[in-house]
Amino acid sequence: MTTMTAPPVAPEQNLRLRARRLPVVALLGIAVAAVAVAALLVYATGIGGFALVVALAMLLYLVGLFAASSAVEGRRQARNRTWSALIHSAFVLALLPLISVVWTLLSNGMERLDRTFFLTSMNNIGARDPNGGAYHAIVGTLEQVGIATLITVPLGLACAIYVVEYGRGRFAQLIRFFVDVMTGIPSIVAGLFVLAFWILIVSPYLNDGRPGYSGFAASLALSVLMLPTIVRSTEEMLRLVPAPLREGSYALGVPKWKTILRIVLPTAAPGIVTGVMLAIARAAGETAPVLLVAGGGAAINFNPFENNQSSLALFVYQQAGDASRYAPARAWAAALTLVALVLILTIAAKLLARRNRFGR
């Protein structure tokens, strides 16, 4: 018969068991109060504007939240709530500039994004000419990145194959380590290297004594930057290839090199392609090496081995520093083009990786 008396007791017990919680209304109240106090303080003393109100309100909200929560829910819960609020606000804080970048890019870039921009170069465009375009820069970017890819992909694949399939012991470990270290070489240093090595030492022999700036030199510098990226991503992809595939191939009497070329590489191909595309996207956006070794230039130059070449990123930099009042519009349009190119490559690479479920 004790069961009859039990039910009325249960809710009461539940109430006691559950810790007291701050209601949502209280949170809203703290927020409103924080904003009000902040606005009052700022505008009454006249020490700042809207931005200060927001910043101060955030601070007051955090303090108020901590105080209220520790009074009602205890110290641990208060800490939890405050950190959670901080983490959420960090996210919002970081979104603001990034949204601003995207917004200014779109609104400013659209102004000059027309046919002339893609079909003309900057040749004979003076400070008073509103037209002019980035045709030469687009040609330069495509050629330089293309050559860099041609140089880097075989080299990078071979290096990754060595590290994963052949390399043993300390030497392979050393190469892995330095590939990682090479990832962090600043692009300007890569540019200086090619400047010192190719432009100042090698190219005078090919160019009757004068240092010759060229698109090919830019490709060399970009290769230095792309190589470690490609090696790292390929390496990871090769490691993901299941061992039974290799073993099956060996069991059929296929030599190791053929197994690598015919079994391992095709299996890892989608992931490798993803890595290559990401490396290309990174290289296409590099300004500093191109600035140092390709020289820039206003005219269209299809030959990457002779004479100055420009690139999209360099075009943005040069137009941004130009005194003409039409230059900023061109700079933004080129920046938008460049970002579009890079993002399309990146998105395609990521989608490819996702579809094949091989990469991450």
Binding site: L52, R76, Q77, N80, L86, I87, S89, A90, F91, L93, A94, P97, L98, S100, V101, L105, G156, A158, C159, Y162, E165, Y166, A172, L174, I175, V181, M182, T183, G184, I185, P186, S187, I188, A190, F193, L195, A196, F197, L200, P255, K256, K258, L261, L278, A281, R282, A284, G285, E286, T287, A288, L292, A313, Y317, A320, A335, L338, V339, L343, I347
Partner: protein, 376 residues
Amino acid sequence: MGDTPDRSANAGTGGPRVTLGHSRSAGAALSVDVPVTPLDRTPDGVGSQDSDLGPGGTGLGGGGALPRRRAFGAERIFHGFTMAAGMTVLGIIVAIAIFLVAKAVPALDANTANFFTYEGWSPNETEPKFGIGALAFGTVLTSLLALLMAVPVALGIALYLSHYAPRRVGTALGFLVDLLAAVPSVVFGLWGRDYFYGPVRDVSAWLNTYFGWLPIFGGDGPFGRSVLLGSLVLAIMVLPIITSLSREVFLQTPTANEEAALALGATKWEMIRMAVLPYGRPGIIGATMLGLGRALGETIALAMTLGIVSKISFNLIENGGNTVAANIANAFGEANDIGRGALIASGLVLFSITLIVNMTARAIIYRRREFTETAA
């Protein structure tokens, strides 16, 4: 026609050509003509000459020594090729050091000031004077400030994406962060110079009015194109990198650890502090160091946003500031021979700094990785 007796002789000795004879019997008349040209054999393999393949040696792989020997040749070539490719990586790093030194030495010889302590940068004069002091200081100051601002925010975002946001939202936003990491630095530079400059100048003026008694916010203008602007832009640039690396690490926290913490009654923050952060610490350190490496080497964005004044000063808001990389981009245009050498010398310093930072970062990651792998 000299091949025919050869083949039959082999067949008689019971060598590998016995099987060949069987396979050839159907089309023997045809096969006799084909291998007469010696050219036909050479591409078959390295060992074909001395082993005397006989006609149609490629037709079968059933022989004993033959295929293995050919494979051995290709195997060696391929192995050697990949090894050479691996060594190019080492070669490139060594070559960078050698060529930079080679081109820097003449300029350093011509330098009439102390390279390490002199604050100015005028290598193009008849009496070249240049020093790395102010530039190296500016580089380190800007990068450290940028990291100071970026790392807490980046960790916050990473935690939000990995543990607070709904899974779908987290994945989608993580994708977005990865995309932002790909945005070229020149775009950030352009944005910082044309748009971010305004708000930063206003904030600088405000800081100067109310906190001007602090040396870092002192001075009497003009404000804006300052270390503050440069490091803010830099912070925004390294944010996606640090975020995406640490998010990945946070996502790898063993679920068992998290659930154990929660089961013991930990709040969400306590769970993060006890399970997620300790597990992810090597990853966080590594991500921070990589962000530092990127910040140290950043060129164009800083060349566009800093005031380019080669002077050692802790003032953050007055126009000024310069870094090694930004100085290279800015001064390269009008550099003569000595000037180029001087820039290469400064690049060498930058290379050494980033090399040390990167090697430290990698060493930390490697050691911790072994540690966590054995511990987990």
